[in-house]
Amino acid sequence: MSTTYALEARGLSKRFGDTVALNNLDLAVSGGEVICLLGANGAGKTTTINLFLGFLKADSGSAYVEGIDVSKSPLEARRKLAYLPESVALYAKLSGVENLAFFDRLAGGSRDDDQLAALLREAGLPDEAHHRLAGTYSKGMRQKVGIAIAMARRATTLLLDEPLSGLDPSAASSLGALIGQLRNDGSAVLMATHDIFRAKEIGDRIGIMMRGRLVNLLDATELDAKEIESIYLDHLHEVDGHAPERAA
């Protein structure tokens, strides 16, 4: 009997002209697990996320979300997902509560203001910010509203594309804690990042991506950040053919 994963890629490939953006990716993410895809720009992390979202059409292979073939039913697959981009886009002329209410209604929900406020609070957005226009929010606050939106949608599968990028350490730490909380509640998380230390902190497994290939899938609990960095640089050396510059 085959297992149904929250996210599964089977031989997934994508080219843009002559450039191979993703090469034969095999990957599975289960509920209660965070996998961080680690790699430089152009490694194929965002392409992987876009293929799971159905924003891109795979040249070969398949992407599944909770057993749904994304290429066949992209909308159905998206409705199972929550997506948190590098910078969550909110409507500047709506408050945090109104933004959340909108995305809640979009997903068929009908939470009242108190329930929405509770979600925002749970996501870490201070009460005083709930009714302020989102145009005045910092990036960290927007990311928190993005998490609240994901929680409101009750999605148990999350795709996070560099969600911590550009956040101050405190905001990144609190968002990391939130992601951990979602994982503990049973959610499956696939997170793209180029931050080794955050990947180690948040991820259960770390997938190292180089030029469209998943070159290694490490157990984050068994390695420390230095070891992960070392492995990463070794792979970089293999791919680029130059000696890695290791940190002292």
């Binding site: 876009n50 924003f55 159905e76 981009p85 910078s87 886009a89 409507y91 209604r105 068929g108």
Partner: protein, 473 residues
């Protein structure tokens, strides 16, 4: 799901201070246009009533005189006031309010209000129709230029798509938000204006006028739907608000200003206005046709003498001079018809040229329909002219025949009095029922329908394309 998008868009647009300011300015313009329209129509009806009474009084009190002299003394026929002309005065100000009904001559309509207007009135007529046909599309564009471009620029479209919103629902949400705001605002303004027009109109409010008001509402609403769809379609092409705004401003300039104006200029180049002096010469020739043909005059005299079996004019039981007057009238009539039908055909050709440019803008078809529905177009004016001419011919025949049969050898010394004058009543021409002129506007209605379907189709195609592009971005 579409409802969520509609509510969100309405909330966001409602918080736009620029839009609120524009709405306030628009309301002021509407109030001013309705007030000036009402004033204009009231003045028209008041002046018409006064002129009609004076004209009737002068006619009835002209004393005893020869009926043919009375035919020259004559009367005015006044154009009927359309109860909804205040919404769209159309060509009314340029077409003349009254026709002088005199013997031997079919006069064109006189007393053009445009001639009495100041220089400023030549630039812009601030009427409700102008506001809907020219200003409202700009307001719609200002309101909706960021509808899709803004979502793309802010990356919220990607967020929406990732939430499982498909292109169809997104399109419906955007379209219905734009329509709800535009048509809601339009209805909120049009309804009180219509009620005001119905209550305060100095003209008779007939069932036909109420039908016309309703058709006018539907026409304007359909016209605004076209621009809402165009706004969404163009907005979806661009990735930034600024680009979308510039593109829509260009679209508005072309559609609402340049093409209609260009069409009018082309039309008058292709089918120029008749030269006023030539027209006068032709009308004079039509009027004098009998008197210029000596051979024919002699033949007619012989025919009349033969018909009555007498040898001389003096022996005739009728006044031969009066007979000739009526005969010459009837000879001139087909020539007058030919001249005025030719003139009307020329105007119709000009309209056809302008109408061709409806391929590039819905404004032309909508303006044609608006004038037609308001009863202020060429066709209504032509119907009035025809009715006035029929009335003139009836009057002249009545007077000539009285002279012919009752002169009893007195010739031009024969006089008639009030009893005869009283037989000639005021022209009672009413605005024709809308249904009777409907066929003349079938092409314009078809153009509007095509624009409606094409604009919505374009918007849908454009939004789908934007969604696909955003997914691949």
């Amino acid at each position: 799901m579409s409802e969520a998008i509609i509510r969100k868009d309405l909330t966001v647009l409602g918080r736009d201070s620029l839009l609120r300011a524009l709405l306030a300015v628009t309301i002021v313009l509407v109030v001013v246009s309705v007030f000036t329209g009402l004033q204009r129509e009231r003045v028209f009806v008041k002046e018409k009533t006064a002129a009609l009474e004076t004209d009737r009084s002068v006619w009835m009190n002209q004393g005893d005189r020869n009926p043919h002299s009375a035919a020259h003394f004559s009367r005015y026929a006044f154009r009927p006031a359309s109860p909804i002309a205040l919404l769209d005065p159309g060509t009314g100000d340029f077409a003349g309010l009254a026709i002088w009904m005199e013997a031997h001559y079919q006069d064109p309509a006189a007393f053009r209000r445009a001639e009495d207007g100041g220089e400023l009135s030549r630039y812009v007529q601030l009427t409700p129709a102008f506001l809907v046909l020219t200003v409202a599309p700009l307001l719609v564009f200002v309101m909706l230029f960021g509808s899709i471009a803004g979502e793309r620029e802010d990356r919220t479209l990607r967020q929406l798509l990732a939430s499982g919103v498909d292109a169809g629902r997104f399109f419906r949400g955007k379209l219905f938000a734009g329509l709800r705001l535009t048509l809601g605002g339009f209805t909120a303004v049009f309804l009180p204006v219509a009620v005001l027009a119905a209550l305060l109109t100095p003209a008779d409010l007939t069932g036909d006028a109420i039908v016309r008001l309703f058709v006018m509402y539907l026409l304007f609403a359909a016209y605004l739907v076209v621009f809402v769809a165009l706004a969404i379609g163009v907005s979806a092409i661009f990735r930034t608000r600024q680009s979308a705004f510039l593109a829509l401003t260009a679209v508005w300039t072309m559609m609402a200003i340049v093409v209609p104006r260009f069409g009018s200029d082309i039309a008058t180049s292709v089918h120029p206005q008749p030269d006023a002096r030539d027209a006068t010469v032709q009308l004079r020739a039509a009027s004098d046709v009998y008197y210029r043909d000596t051979e024919m005059r002699e033949q007619i005299e012989k025919d009349v003498l033969a018909e009555y079996g007498v040898a001389t004019i003096e022996e005739l039981p009728i006044d031969y001079g009066a007979y000739v007057l009526q005969f010459s009238e009837e000879m001139s009539e087909p020539l007058f018809d030919e001249f005025y039908n030719g003139l009307d055909a020329r105007y119709a050709k000009q309209e056809a040229v302008v109408r061709t440019l409806s391929l590039f803008t819905p404004s032309i078809a909508a303006a044609n329909l608006s004038r037609g529905v308001a009863g202020t177009d060429r066709i209504h004016q032509r119907e009035f002219s025809k009715a006035a001419e029929a009335h003139r011919r009836e009057m002249v025949q009545l007077l000539n025949e009285d002279y012919m049969y009752n002169a009893d050898g007195a010739g031009y010394a024969y006089t008639a009095g009030t009893d005869l004058w009283a037989q000639f009543e005021d022209l009672d021409h009413q605005v024709p029922a809308l249904g009777s002129i409907g066929r003349a506007y079938a092409i314009d209605a078809l153009f509007m329908l095509v624009w409606l379907v094409a604009a919505i189709g374009f918007a849908y195609w454009s939004v789908r394309r934007a969604v696909t592009g955003e997914e691949a971005a």
